[in-house]
């Protein structure tokens, strides 16, 4: 179920079977799933990471950006430009929900965050 939700190729296959229009995978859910699969080297996980790298390019939403930075860092992918984008997001000063602010702080300090969970990057 986790793989179905996280990986686009798998999701597309499931939707093809059910003849439903395609729903895009969610960035934050995909990122969390990829964090759970950090020690897996399956092709589905690799395709999920690639999808996340592509998708994050046009994103401006802090919650999804922060989730993506953590997942990409855990999979040892470059995150500098995404982190810069996150730090300079236009509406950060208007954010009033603490969960998003906490996620941003964790993402901008991803090395220490992931170390705390035993993930070396």
């Amino acid at each position: 179920m986790l793989i179905d939700r996280a990986c686009p190729r798998r999701l597309e296959r499931w939707e093809w079977h059910s003849l439903w229009p395609q729903l895009s995978p969610h960035v934050d859910d995909t990122a969390v799933a990829l964090l759970a699969f950090v020690r897996e080297d399956k092709s589905l996980v690799r395709s999920g990471v690639q999808w996340l790298e592509r998708t994050v390019q046009g994103l401006r939403s802090p919650w999804s950006l922060a989730s993506a930075v953590l997942a990409l860092a855990a999979h040892r992918k470059p995150t500098h430009s995404t982190a810069v984008c996150l730090g300079s997001a236009a509406d950060l000063s208007r954010l009033d929900d603490t969960s998003t602010l906490a996620m941003i702080c964790l993402a901008l300090n991803s090395y220490n965050t992931l170390s705390a969970f035993g993930v070396a990057i």
């Binding site: 229009p21 895009s24 960035v27 934050d28 859910d29 802090p62 998003t100």
Partner: protein, 328 residues
């Protein structure tokens, strides 16, 4: 036949046990009656989204005796997730038109408030569905109800086993709450209209996505408990492009070309259902709500604006809800 003391005692005990089981089943699950003597519904024919919707809406609002002078108004659209097209979410142009109208009518503040049920990243839904740009240019405040400050509220009906809910302060403290649903068929509740739209006030950070607790407690039952506890003062339903089939996300767009307004959410939903070619009193939450929250019976609804004309072909619904469709 003589009755011994033993027989009498056993019989009395049996009666008492029976009563303790059956009386709660017979008691109503609500303790008040919020129904108006008569409700008013306006149907507008509008065939496309445009920046001029505020003029159309303003003219329609004059058909209702609404006083929002000095009041805080919360508009609750239906924003679930984003897919290209206009069939899933309440269209931004209608919501912004409502903002403009309530401001003109003297509201002290008008906020847009929603807690999407499918997508956790509310900002992403706002940007993808075009709301973000409009919110900035119109200087409208948006409150993410999934992450708002919460207040504990005892439920005012008991269709579910939940005794209370933590609800967003923005909604609880609003003087005038407007439900702005998208008119859609729904695979689990038959339809999603102004009452089902209130699922969005239940915070995801507390109850999960897609508001899991409510699904487990029963969707129809939860709708009733929420609407009993959080009164909807007005409904403006977006049916310009509606959705039929496997809603709320995977259905097909259906050009209905209607906006429905009402001072009674039950009357609004019953009218929307009729416009979809569905029988409202076969939809459990509408039928039950008409006992204490509002009017679904046409004889108790003053119809203004356009005439109510059910479609020649009723909306497609999932097989479980086929019985809702008017017979052809």
């Amino acid at each position: 036949m003589s009755i011994t003391r033993r027989t009498l005692l056993v019989g009395s005990a049996g009666l008492a046990a029976g009563a303790s089981v059956s009386v709660p089943l017979l008691l109503p699950k609500y303790q008040f009656d919020r129904r108006q003597k008569r409700s008013r519904v306006a149907i507008l024919n509008v065939d496309h989204y445009s920046p001029k919707l505020d003029n159309i809406l303003e003219a329609a609002l004059q058909l209702f005796p609404i006083d929002v002078v000095g009041k805080t108004v919360a508009l609750k659209p239906n924003l679930v997730d984003y897919l290209p097209g206009d069939a899933i979410n309440t269209h931004r142009s209608l919501v912004l038109a409502a903002v403009e109208c309530f401001r003109r009518r003297g509201a002290t503040s008008v906020v847009i408030a929603e807690g999407p049920g499918h997508q956790r990243d509310t900002r992403l839904v706002l940007s993808q569905s075009g709301y973000d740009e409009c919110l900035g240019s119109e200087k409208v405040r948006f409150v993410d109800l999934n992450r708002d400050e919460l207040v504990r509220r005892q439920l005012l009906a008991s269709y579910t086993d939940m005794k209370d809910l933590w609800l967003p302060r923005t909604v609880i403290e609003a003087d005038f709450l407007v439900s702005m649903p998208k008119i859609k068929a729904h695979h689990w509740s038959g339809v999603t209209l102004s009452m089902k739209n209130m699922f969005g006030v239940v915070p995801g950070t507390r109850y999960g996505w897609p508001k899991n607790i409510l699904h487990w407690a029963g969707i129809q039952q939860s709708i009733l408990d929420i609407c009993a506890t959080v009164p909807v003062h007005f409904a403006i339903a977006d049916g310009i492009i509606a959705m039929e089939g496997n809603g709320p996300l995977n259905g097909n767009p259906r050009q209905l070309s209607k906006i429905v307004l009402s001072n009674d959410p039950v009357a609004a939903d019953a009218t929307c259902a009729r416009l979809m070619g569905l029988e409202p009193n076969r939809i459990p939450h509408i039928r039950e709500a008409s006992r204490f929250l509002g009017n679904s019976c046409m004889a108790l609804i003053d119809q203004v604006g356009e005439k109510l004309m059910p479609p020649k072909i009723p909306f497609e619904v999932m097989p479980d809800w086929e019985h809702l469709r008017y017979s052809l």
